[in-house]
């Protein structure tokens, strides 16, 4: 079965899902079409019952995932043991902080929202074959855009109007920040992965400047943060003390993008661009405009994420606002293979792990950043062993 596994193009075939709509010409299949039959032929005749069981697709996939999840947790526990921590205690505290009670589930949804929106920021360009590693900076610029809109209105509009204007401000700022690597890519062929990555650090410096100087709260007594958004500038709390209306923004954006990417002409053009850029060019697609648009739509999503964070959860700009969430979003997008529906699930999973990090800190006294290990292991499992589950014999 190595023929199916070997070609080093793990992303392209998956993006061209065969069920992309009946009206589209499906590309000619490459390699064996039906791996299940091919595997059955490979199998020796003995142990037929066991083989039949093994080749039941559902059983095979289930076994694979149980092994992967088990291995992921086992390796994480091995690192915890090496640090001298009690793995069972750590895992229990992580579970309790992230999913163990209604309040902690709410916290997971709150954390999952910026991850979900940052993941969409990576996913839309990825559909077109572009790497957006700038989600981190686009989230921050979105938060700035939301503040710009809120400051401009200065409480002079109803809450709904204010929030909509803030969302537009966030999306516009995020899109503009994402447009920089896109334009550089299209007009100077600068590698967009690298330029978007460098822009994160510049965005971080902009936020620090705003918090320490430009927008520093005059009554903050040495603390570096902006004024607090209040009243109509905040999403209403819908559940408990912290869960706010903004958690639906990410889910709605995910659903809308799912529809657009799957059913619209634009989504199809993007898929063609991602599948084979030179073919897209030959077919007369406006590659330049399409690439810039894909990055800007992505940036707008991350910008919304930044807006939801300041208008919902945080209320203020802080220098360390959302640190790491752009990267976690990028991971979520790859975890979900850039499919907006699956991204919703991936964001909740990674959001839960991120919330578990604070449990790690409080109860086990470990550094919260250690949960990055668990996230990385999950990603390795999926990137390295998840994708071949349908095409590999064993």
């Amino acid at each position: 079965m190595t023929a199916v596994d070997a070609p080093g193009a793990p992303d392209a075939p998956d993006d061209l899902e065969p069920d992309a709509g009946g009206q589209l010409p499906t590309p000619p299949p490459i390699g064996p079409v039906d791996p299940t039959t091919a595997t059955l032929l490979d199998e020796p005749g003995s142990l037929a019952a066991f083989a039949a069981f093994r080749h039941n697709r559902i059983v095979r996939v289930a076994v694979r995932w149980v092994v992967l999840v088990g291995a992921t947790i086992a390796i994480f526990c091995a690192f915890l043991l090496a640090k001298g921590a009690q793995p069972d205690e750590v895992l229990r505290s992580m579970w309790e902080t992230s999913l163990g009670s209604p309040d902690s589930v709410g916290e997971t949804f709150i954390r999952a929202t910026p991850i979900l929106l940052a993941a969409l920021a990576a996913a839309v360009p990825a559909r077109g074959g572009l790497f957006n590693l700038g989600g981190e900076g686009q989230l921050l610029l979105g938060a700035v855009g939301a503040f710009v809109a809120a400051n401009a209105l200065d409480g002079g509009a109803s809450s709904a109007v204010t929030l909509v204007c803030m969302a537009i401000g966030g999306a516009v700022f995020g899109a503009a920040w994402a447009a920089i690597p896109a334009v550089l890519k299209v007009y100077t062929r600068t590698n967009e992965a690298i330029s978007s990555l460098l822009l994160n650090y510049i965005a971080g410096i902009i936020i620090t400047w705003l918090c320490f100087e430009r927008w520093k709260d005059p009554i903050s007594l040495g603390q570096a943060y902006s004024r607090e958004l209040t009243g109509g500038e905040r999403f209403p709390i819908i559940w408990g003390n912290r869960v706010h209306l903004g958690i639906f923004v990410g889910v709605i954006a995910g659903l809308v993008l799912w529809v657009i990417l799957r059913w619209s002409t634009w989504g199809f053009k993007l898929k063609v661009l991602g599948g084979n850029p030179s073919a897209a060019r030959r077919a007369g697609l406006a590659v330049t405009g399409l690439s810039i648009a894909a990055m800007m739509v992505g940036g707008a999503m991350a910008g919304l994420g930044g807006m939801v964070e300041v208008a919902g959860t945080e209320g203020r700009l802080r220098p360390e606002l959302l640190a790491g969430y752009g990267f976690i979003g990028f991971l979520a997008s790859w975890l979900a293979r850039h499919d907006p529906l699956r991204i919703i699930g991936a964001a909740v999973l990674l959001g839960a792990i991120a919330v578990g990090g604070s449990g790690l800190k409080i109860t086990a006294g470990l550094s919260g950043g250690a949960v990055n290990i668990l996230m990385a292991l999950v990603l390795f499992a999926v990137l390295g062993w998840g994708r071949t589950s349908e095409s590999e014999g064993s």
Partner: protein
């Protein structure tokens, strides 16, 4: 002031030179490794911890190299054996590196380490101007002076270098001649990760003399950017690294002299410089790179 800026550029550039040489080695063999940032962090922590516990910064440096190479081997397994996307895996590897260093470095924040003392080279360091700029540094900085031409020589003048570059230009051809491209890339990744770890070790045991979470602040990513901007050539890479660290040194000097410019504007200067130069040079550079790399970016 020029002297102070140039001295700072050389001292601060060393870690980026090493990481960049490592990344260049990987990319010449056809693998882009965004895990360089993670390898630097692991190298920095390992060198710091071993340096404290053994009292010998040199053992620390060796540990740093080993840690960087070990993290890069994760990238190697994922990319060379599991055929996962190089850019995504690289970022995940960096994520793993930040997580591991966050977990294991927690108890070491703010502990002093026995530093790698700087050696003023007798005679040369007394030269006017050049003496302070070039010949009054820690030993790893001198090593980086040697490493840059050595890597250039190794890549273009030795048989091993030819094989390594072939793995990046035409792995199929290499296979026909009976050499496994996968094996060559494995070696390149281990060497590259080791060099990134060495860069991290220099940072923690000779430059900052401290450990803090995420202390490399994107130096590994900058190294990746510099490799492209240098057109995959070691000498130009070193120039780029000194340009980046020179911008940092300039900013520090201007601040110290109380210039009336926002320090935030100055702090963004190094990143903006790299970005602008990268954009200016990219048009000409894209086809100078190893052929196998373009496949990564074209999907």
């Amino acid at each position: 002031m020029i002297e102070a800026v140039l001295t700072g550029a050389v001292a601060g550039g060393t870690s980026i030179v090493f990481a960049g040489l490592g990344e260049l080695t990987c990319e010449r063999a056809g693998v882009i490794n965004l895990g360089t940032e993670g390898s630097m962090l692991c190298g920095a922590l390992a060198a710091y911890v071993v340096g404290i516990n053994t009292g010998s910064p040199w053992l620390g440096v060796l540990a740093g190299i080993a840690a960087g190479a070990l993290l890069a081997s994760v990238h190697a397994v994922m990319v060379l054996h599991r055929h996962a996307n190089q850019i995504a895996v690289g970022l995940v590897v960096t994520f793993l590196g930040t997580g591991l260093t966050s977990l294991f470095g927690q108890d070491y924040v703010g502990k002093g380490v026995q530093p790698l003392e700087s050696w003023a080279i007798p005679g040369l360091s007394k030269l006017p101007f050049l003496g302070t700029v070039l010949f009054d540094h820690d030993p790893l900085t001198y090593l980086s002076f040697v490493a840059v031409p050595l890597v250039a020589w190794g890549l273009w003048r030795t048989r091993a270098g030819l094989i390594l570059r072939s793995a990046g230009e035409g792995p199929e051809v290499l296979e026909i001649y009976g050499t496994s491209a996968r094996k060559v890339r494995w070696i390149a990744l281990l060497v590259g990760g080791g060099l990134a770890g060495l860069g991290g070790a220099q940072l923690s045991t000779a430059a900052t003399l401290n450990w803090s979470e995420g202390m490399t602040v994107g130096r590994g990513f900058v190294a990746v950017a510099l490799v492209i901007f240098a057109g995959w050539h070691p000498l130009k890479l070193a120039g780029g690294a000194y340009l980046f660290s020179g911008a940092i040194a300039l900013q520090l000097q201007l601040q110290a002299r109380g210039w009336e410019i926002s320090r935030y504007l100055l702090e963004s200067l190094p990143y903006v410089t790299v970005l602008v130069v990268l954009a200016l040079l990219s048009n000409r550079r894209i086809h100078g790179g190893p052929a196998a790399l373009e496949k990564v970016f074209e999907g």
